[in-house]
């Protein structure tokens, strides 16, 4: 019976194609939306993802990573003295302007790392070494900067190239991989002391104090201890990402705007796929009634409907995911569009699609159960 149900489904190429396209469309819409959303959220946290540290310590009023409420340099020592802290180092981060020889300028995110520990350094170097940062005027640029700042030169930026950062000379000594920033600018890494040289002087210059914990300590527990001992605010990496995202949610419309797009995608996807399957059931009413007249039980007809809809759902989901994967590759290659897929997205979409299909099958089942077998005698 199930086999015949599937043969009925596959046998009608046009209808089957339409059903599957409906689901493919829904899958793409939902997955793409979720990936866009995650992509944007990850852009919000790109500084945290580029500068890896177990604990971020900040001014008590700071809620997110782009918030500028500097600390004193001595705060690093206060953090270091807290029990369970293995190391603590000041970090500078801020938006700065790079001037190129041709007079054009670009916004970049400048990161100043503690020179002795190099804590928070970019984890993956493409060219050069981290230690080269100790060379005079040395900066490490990320791959976006290679092209972005290179535009003025008419060629990609390379090690040894010189440009101006706030009227100070900077020499490229290395190239690293980094996550793209929310504002779209490149990341520049240098030492903490040199960063202060690049930036107009202010009374307090330390953006954050980064800290690591002793083995066996939980970062969350140490963070609470730091807060108690210093009166500063301390986040674990995860807490800081969450707090940053929460800040964007609360203070900008972006999450709602994107969220609305996704919601609409979800609703449209749901309606499209549910509707296509239900119309398939409607068009098959006569056949189902014939089955029923010939003695097929309600249970076995329901089984047929569920098998049919879940099959359509799975095939459509598979194709849809494939297309999203290709699309995502293209988007990532463009590097201008937020796109992030974690396994939870396809898993969630799979659940949603299966749910939709089962719901549609369920509506069909109600119809089939009410179906008068005598219907087949009517012309």
């Amino acid at each position: 019976m199930m086999r015949l149900g599937l043969r009925m489904l596959f046998g009608d190429h046009a209808k089957y194609g339409m059903l599957v396209s409906g689901i493919v469309f829904a899958t793409i819409l939902i997955t793409q939306g979720a990936a866009l959303f995650l992509g944007i959220m990850s852009w919000m946290c790109s500084t945290i993802r580029n500068v890896r540290a177990e604990i971020w310590v900040a001014d008590p009023r700071v809620e997110m990573v782009a918030d500028q409420k500097p600390l004193r340099e001595t705060d690093a020592d206060r953090v270091l003295s807290v029990e369970g802290v293995k190391w603590a180092a000041p970090l500078y981060t801020g938006l700065q302007t790079v001037k190129m020889d041709d007079g054009s300028s670009k916004q970049v995110t400048l990161i100043g790392l503690d020179a002795t520990t190099l804590a928070g350094a970019p984890p993956r170097m493409v060219e050069g070494t981290l230690e080269a940062l100790r060379l005079p005027d040395g900066v490490i640029i990320d791959e976006y900067a290679v092209d972005d700042l290179g535009k003025a030169l008419g060629r990609p930026l390379a090690i040894g190239d010189v440009f101006e950062l706030n009227d100070h000379r900077a020499v490229v000594v290395g190239i690293c991989k980094a996550y793209r920033s929310f504002t779209g600018g490149a990341y520049l890494f240098t030492t903490y002391d040199r960063a202060l040289g690049f930036v107009p002087a202010q009374r307090k210059m330390t953006s954050f104090v980064l800290a690591g914990v002793n083995t066996g300590e939980s970062p969350a527990a140490v963070a609470r201890r730091i807060e108690a001992a210093t009166g500063l605010r301390a986040f674990t990496e995860r807490e800081f990402m969450e707090s940053t995202i929460r800040w964007y949610v609360a203070n900008t419309g972006i999450v709602y705007n994107v969220g609305t797009i996704i919601l609409i995608g979800f609703i449209v996807g749901t309606v499209v796929s549910g509707q296509t399957f239900y119309s398939f059931v409607l068009e098959n009413t006569r056949n189902l009634a014939a089955f029923k007249a010939m003695g097929a039980s309600n249970q076995s007809l329901c089984g047929v409907l569920v098998i049919q809809s879940v099959t359509v759902g799975l095939v459509g989901f598979g194709i849809g995911q494939g297309i999203v994967a290709l699309l995502g590759r293209m988007l990532l290659a463009l590097e201008k569009v937020p796109f992030l897929i974690v396994w939870q997205i396809p898993a969630g979409v799979l659940l949603a699609i299966t749910g939709i299909c089962i719901l549609a099958a369920f509506l069909g089942i109600i119809r089939v159960a009410r179906l008068e077998a005598a219907l087949v005698f009517r012309a």
């Binding site: 015949l4 003695g295 076995s300 005698f377 012309a379």
Partner: protein, 248 residues
């Protein structure tokens, strides 16, 4: 043991008494059947004729167990269908009934042999056995060489023969047909009736045919004429039918 064998053969195949059936409610109510009695004997080919709207299809649906009457007794091959639950009636149809419809009701996306195997598949038979028996049944209606084609590729007469093969494949004792020839030309109608006639003779099957088509009256053993929801006249032999309908 076959439960049918304990029912004495003298009992009629179908016995309906005092059947009432109405559709709709209030002022728009239609009384399709009005205290109707009806009987079909085992092994006979019985025609049910009458003007449009007189209740033929309704009566056929009730004796086939696809429609429940408002009142009255329905006993088919010893089974009391009025008292039976929905699932008991479903199980009854699976074993005892073959259906032939005016619209053929073949499933367009299934091959012919798959269409014919449906009643066996519903009974839970394995694919191999079901399709083997379906192929035999198709052979008997002269379509053994078209097994894997789609119904849409066949003519109306051929499609109706596929439907007959489907009605016979599980060897049911009772075949019900609603206007089996009205969509067919004379020659195809004749061919369909020959096959049904053979099916009735060869296995002692009971065949009940609702029809408007005087061209096929000569195939009937008996004929029940309906009017206004009742059997108005019973023609008890081919001779009586020929007398009553001389122009056929």
């Amino acid at each position: 043991m076959n439960p049918d064998s304990i029912v004495p053969d003298v009992l009629p195949a179908v016995l309906l008494t005092g059947i009432e059936k109405s559709f709709g409610t209030g002022s728009s109510i239609t009384r399709a059947l009005r205290h109707t009695d009806f009987e079909a004997r085992r092994g006979e080919m019985l025609f049910l004729v009458g003007p449009s709207g007189c209740g033929k299809t309704t009566l056929l649906s009730i004796l086939a167990g696809t429609l429940r009457p408002d009142a009255g007794e329905v006993v088919v091959y010893g089974h009391d269908l009025h008292a039976a639950s929905e699932s008991e009636r479903t199980a009854f149809r699976t074993r005892h009934l073959g259906f032939i419809f005016q619209q053929f009701n073949l499933i367009p996306s299934l091959s012919i042999v798959e269409n014919v195997s449906v009643p066996l598949v519903i009974q839970g038979k394995k694919r191999r056995e079901a399709e083997g028996r379906a192929a035999d049944a198709l052979d008997r209606v002269g379509l053994g060489d078209r097994l894997h084609e789609r119904p849409g590729k066949l003519s109306g007469g051929q499609q109706q023969r596929v439907a007959i093969a489907r009605a016979l494949v599980h060897d049911p004792p009772l075949i019900v047909c609603d206007e089996p020839t009205s969509a067919l030309d004379r020659e195809n109608g004749r061919r369909v009736m020959e096959i049904l006639r053979d099916a009735a003779d060869e296995r002692g099957r009971t065949v009940i045919i609702v029809t408007h088509d005087p061209r096929i009256y000569s195939y009937a053993d008996r004929m029940a004429e309906m009017e206004d929801g009742r059997i108005s006249r019973l023609l008890d032999s081919p001779a009586a039918i020929a007398t009553a309908h001389p122009d056929t």
